[in-house]
């Protein structure tokens, strides 16, 4: 879901982000400003290496500042909670999100996660609608950006 939100954020701000950075083994460039610093920080918070976390925290602090460190820690903590709630309750993806994220899920490898089985596989019609949306949604978001300007 957040890969989708990230892509839309990019389309609205006129940027193209590399979503595979979310799922790569090593922190890589996504196109998001300071993205590799943030990804390295998330990896370190969830990893078990205190020295790596200390370095990642210091790097984030130097590049983005103290308030950003607090907000980054808050987002990581939020999804440590939210992911567990989703997995423990077996909730499916929300209908519209399921439609709009079919391509992105395979791009970031999410379809291979065990919890993917909580969302019913889309039928032919939904797959077709998903493909059409994948073409027209970016145009829609670009149009919305232009209108808001």
């Amino acid at each position: 879901m957040h890969a989708f939100l990230l892509r839309v954020s990019g389309q609205i701000s006129g940027n193209e982000y590399d979503l595979t950075a979310i799922a790569r083994d090593e922190a890589g460039e996504s196109g998001v400003p300071h993205g590799s610093t943030l990804v390295a920080y998330a990896d370190a918070v969830l990893g078990g290496d205190d020295v790596a976390l200390s370095h990642a925290r210091e790097r984030l602090l130097q590049e983005l500042g103290a308030e950003a460190l607090v907000d980054a820690a808050a987002v990581v903590a939020t999804f440590a909670m939210v992911d567990r709630i989703a997995d423990a309750t077996g909730i499916p993806l929300d209908g519209k999100v399921e439609l709009m994220t079919q391509g992105i899920r395979s791009e970031v490898g999410a379809d291979a996660f065990a919890s993917a089985s909580n969302t019913p596989r889309p039928g032919l019609l939904r797959r077709a609608i998903g493909r059409v949306l994948a073409i027209f949604l970016p145009m829609g978001f670009r149009l919305m950006r232009a209108i808001r300007r």
């Binding site: 957040h2 939100l5 993205g35 990804v39 980054a72 808050a74 990581v76 939020t78 909670m81 065990a114």
Partner: protein
């Protein structure tokens, strides 16, 4: 000094976030809907203890954790099925399955009691992860408040596609009116709604730490953070990928 406090944190933590964490700590210490304050505190303590469990470590490196039997290194204050929920939810959330959930129910844990355990564990993980991320010591767990669980089951809870019944915005009436302050809410925002107090607490945290649940799809909403929306969603996506969470 009120607890939890970030007075000794290496960076200043904004007041609304400190206040949200104080509300969570108070929430965990109070008698819940199906569990006492003492039991809820025991769940929070077990969540911390679970990280060093030998069985969980062995399962983490096993191809199929469900086939590996054994006893968790528990603290001893909770029934074994609850210890199993706490440990699996803490250590291997991406491997939870409907079959495992059905086994939990077969051991006599009700859906509502299960949902409350999930609420306590995940909110404890939330606050502890924040502390770990900042490099501050975990807060002392709150002293449990006395009293009996309310045993309130919302009338509007209905089976849907999730493993547990949920309250839809349309069915949030009576005591549940106002459960979703912004109206629409994604599934994850109502996943614990079989125990409305857990939902209220989680939505409170979401608003203070990320974005109010009803505004997640509003790309022009500005939560006034020091990192951009794209930076927040990159972090969210990365954490979810590490947790192997499809949602």
């Amino acid at each position: 000094m009120a607890e939890p406090s970030y007075d000794f944190a290496p960076v200043r933590v904004r007041e609304d976030l400190v206040a949200a964490h104080r509300r969570v700590w108070e929430h965990i210490s109070r008698p819940g809907t199906w569990w006492t304050g003492e039991q809820r505190r025991a769940m929070a303590a077990e969540t911390r203890h679970a990280r060093d469990c030998r069985l969980c470590r062995e399962r983490a490196t096993s191809a199929s954790s469900s086939k590996m039997r054994g006893r968790h290194d528990g603290l001893g204050g909770l029934p074994e099925p609850i210890v199993d929920i706490v440990h699996r939810l803490t250590n291997e959330p991406g491997r939870l399955s409907k079959d495992w959930f059905n086994e939990v129910l077969a051991k006599g844990v009700t859906e509502a009691a299960y949902v409350e355990v999930v609420g306590v564990v995940t909110q404890t993980v939330n606050v502890d992860t924040f502390c770990h991320g900042l490099g501050v010591a975990y807060h002392s767990l709150p002293a449990p408040a006395l009293g009996e669980p309310s045993r309130h089951r919302p009338e509007g809870a209905r089976p849907e596609r999730a493993w547990v019944p949920m309250v839809s915005p349309a069915n949030a009436k009576g005591p549940e009116a106002g459960l979703y302050p912004l109206g629409g809410v994604p599934n994850v925002g109502r996943a614990l709604s079989l125990v409305p107090d857990e939902t209220r607490s989680v939505l409170d945290l979401l608003a203070a730490q990320y974005i109010p649940a009803g505004r997640v799809s509003d790309f022009w909403f500005d939560p006034q953070r020091a990192i951009s929306r794209a930076q927040m969603d990159l972090l969210a996506g990365r954490v979810s990928a590490l947790n192997r969470c499809f949602y």
